[in-house]
Every structure is written in structure tokens, then in C-alpha cells.
């Protein structure tokens, strides 16, 4: 018999429903349960991922509708649904979808907040900038406030292009290499013999 805890659903790309049993796990056979000895996780290099709450086998799930420690009120199933909603709105690439993502910028769940921020970048509309700056004012952490402000600045940049013929359209930039004008370096003004600037 296999017993597992912590489940959430996700409709995979292959169309099959998958229950991902997140966090730590313990399974038993013949009805006998074993609890492993605990080993602390490695202290990975510092960084955004290192500081992310790790799912751990320390957790002893009690509730089949269990949730992550980060947000005790949001089930994994609900989180997946929200992430899907954010992705769906972001890939419209339409400013009209910004209000659909905005509420999630300050969602209690950090993974949802990250997805909302990334969703704004994916959507790629300058109209997101004021929404991000407003959210930054009440962001849960200073790091997130900075990230939101930086994303706002990013989205206010003009949109570039990966299309070669558009990248070098006439009037936009001049060729480099041998065809680039060679800059002349002006000399400084003449100075008098005693070193003073001539008036």
C-alpha cells in the first residue's frame, strides 16, 4: 500500500490529470509506516532560489487538502488554477488583460506574486508600469518592491525586435565596422607658454 500526502492537481500538457504530491513524503507497505531520520537540507548558495521555502520531508501532513507553509490558506490545487489564469491573461499580449493580473501582484502566496510579476513582463505593455509601482508601495518585502519597480521601468522601455530587417530599418541606426564614421578627437584649446588658458 502506498500512502502519500500533500496533493494538488495539474492538467499536464499531455492532457492527463496529474496529482503532484508536493513536499516531503513517506510511504509504507503492509500498513507499516516508517519515519526517516531527518537530515537538514544543504545550505545552498545564497540567492532567490536558496531563500525559497523548501518543501521538506520534515513536514508531517495532516490534511489531504494540505497547503504549503508559505500560505496556509491556499491549496496547491488553487495555486495551480491561479497560475493558469495568470498565464492565460499574460499571453493575450493585450493591455486589456492587465486588470486580470494586477490583483495577484499582492496575493498572499509568494509563488502567485512571482507569477503575476512575470506575467506582467510577458504581457509586455507599458500600461503595467503604474500598476507595478502602485503594488510596490505595499509589497510584502523590500526585495519584491524593488523587483516591481524595476519591472515597471523595464516595461516603459520601447519595444525592440528580433526581426533583422526591422532591427536595421533605414533611419534607425547606422552600420558599424568599416562603414562607421571615424570619430575625430578634437584637440584641447591652445594654451599659453606659462600654462594659462588664453583669454
Amino acid at each position: 500500500m502506498i500512502r502519500a500526502h500533500y496533493e494538488f492537481t495539474h492538467a499536464s500538457g499531455s492532457g492527463g490529470a496529474i496529482l503532484l504530491l508536493a513536499a516531503g513524503w513517506v510511504f509504507t507497505r503492509d500498513g507499516k509506516e516508517d519515519t526517516p531520520g531527518e537530515t537538514p537540507p544543504p545550505q545552498a548558495a545564497s540567492g532567490p532560489l536558496a531563500s525559497r521555502p523548501a518543501t521538506s520531508s520534515r513536514t508531517t501532513p495532516r490534511d489531504p487538502q494540505a497547503t504549503t507553509p508559505a500560505n496556509p490558506k491556499l491549496t496547491d490545487e488553487e495555486r495551480v488554477a491561479i497560475l493558469g489564469k495568470i498565464e492565460e491573461a499574460s499571453v493575450t499580449y493585450d493591455a486589456k488583460a492587465l486588470p486580470e493580473i494586477e490583483p495577484f501582484l499582492l496575493h498572499p502566496d509568494p509563488e502567485v506574486r512571482t507569477a503575476a510579476l512575470n506575467g506582467m513582463i510577458v504581457l509586455g505593455e507599458a500600461g503595467a508600469a503604474p500598476l507595478l509601482r502602485k503594488a510596490a508601495e505595499t509589497a510584502p518585502t523590500p526585495q519584491e518592491a524593488v523587483a516591481m519597480t524595476e519591472a515597471a521601468g523595464y516595461l516603459e522601455l520601447p519595444s525592440g525586435t528580433f526581426v533583422p530587417k526591422d532591427r536595421t530599418a533605414p533611419g534607425t541606426r547606422l552600420p558599424g565596422g568599416d562603414k562607421a564614421p571615424e570619430r575625430r578627437r578634437p584637440k584641447g584649446p591652445p594654451v599659453s607658454e606659462d600654462g594659462d588658458d588664453p583669454k
Binding site: 495539474h10 499536464s12 492527463g16 499580449y93 533583422p164
Partner: protein
Amino acid sequence: MTRHRSFLAVLSASAVLSGIAQADPGTESLVTLRLIEQYSVPGTIAKDATGRPLSPRTPAYENEWSRTNSQGDVISTNYEYQSRIATTRLSNREFLGFLVSEGVIPAINGWSLKAIYNEVEAIPAFYVTKPGSAPIYVGSYLDMETYGEAEAVNATSLERFNSAGDSIAFSSRDESLTKSETFLTFTTQAAPGAEGSTMHIAGMWQHTLSLRPVRTGGAVEYRYLNGRGSIYAISGSIDDVVSDGSGGFDNFQSIIEGSWLFSAGFPIDDLSDLYPDAEAPPAP
């Protein structure tokens, strides 16, 4: 590059226990491009020999002119060279716009950029996906390679037996965080020097991997799933080679900064269904 798999045996054992035949499972992760491109543009406009702007106004880097008095004597000579740095963003919609221009997708609406991982190789395959449409492999435009890396791993396992020697319980964990020096190339050039664009960027790819139980239908199997990650501290350049209209080529250069972000992955049952280019290579 092959992933370090401390618990491949566990994976196999658990699959047997769960009664599930291993297909070719993998992980699907959303990719957010956040690049900034900068390049020089002319900072002034073309002027005539007396310093008056030419019409129509034409961008220019430099001008040289002189002024004379009523007798025709030169009273001043002037030279100017002016340029500025133009900054644009290159994100998902710009990349998808490129795919539209290439005829890969009809429009950007609804399309997402995804990184698809198999359970053997670290480097993902890149696809664009849209609900209701077959995923399209775009790895022919993007090449990713890694070199040096540093890794933090926590892998443990415990199996207990009864007095008869039967296994009565088993538990394990395997979590890792890896930082890899990464090089990415995006190119539309058929060969070096040919017409097109090539972007070379380098950055630090930070990614996580963990062994997790996944329930498919009514059974459970254990899979290595990719967590959230990013390629940060990106720097690089884009070289554009464009026909000059007279049998030669014009060359343009720009610089790139920024990051790529990868969402935590979702499990995929069988890559062969939708992501055949992401499948693990056959075992030797």
C-alpha cells in the same frame, strides 16, 4: 550534460512499486525573457557646408562646416560628432513576433514560451505552446550550453527490513541547487557572415531539481521535477548582417543585458506525446 542522479535506483524502484511503466516523463516550465538591448544611434542630423540642417532631416553622427564673412574669409571651422545609446526591451512578445515573421506561428496571441526538461539532461528544449495547438519546437533558433558549475545537494535514503528480511518501509529525498555558467545563442544566420542576426549571451543559470512523488491516475511514481530558476547577470551582444543593396553587407552591433526566468515546472507524463524534441536520448 547528464544530470547527477543520486536516486535513480529509487526512481525505478518506486515506479515498480507503483505499478507504472516509465514512459518518458519530464517537466514543463514557463520562460520569461527580460532582456535589454542597447546600441549606438546618431545623435545629430546631417548639415550642409554652412552648418544648416539638410532637408529632409537625416540622422547623422558627424558634420563639418565653416562660416565665412562677407569677404569670403573663413571665420570659423566647426566639427561635431554626436551619438547616443538607444535602449529597447526584448521580451517574450518580441521573440514571438520574430516567430510570426518567420512563419512559425500565425500571431503571438495565446502563445507561451516553455522550457521542457527530460529526466536525464539538465538543459531544456524550448517550445512555444498554445492551448488547442500542437507545441512547436523553437530550439533550432536557441542553443544553450553550460560549462562550469557548482552544486548543493541533499540526497538521503532509508530502507527498513523486518526480521524475515523483507523490506517494510522506504523513504528518501533528493534536492539540489545548481549554478551553471551558461552560454546561449540565438541565430537566424545560415552560416557565419551570412545575412541575418546572431545573439550571443552568457549568464549564470541557477536551477533546482527535486525528487517528488507524482500521482498519475490512481498510482504514484517518483520523478525529478525542476523548480524555479533563472539565468541572471546576462551580458552579450547581437550582430546583424544586412545586405547593403550593392552586393555587400552592412554590419550592426548591439549589446544585451538582462535575465531569463523559469517558473517552477509542472510534470509531463510522456514527452513523446507533445515534446518529442525534448525526449531523453536513448540509453547507451
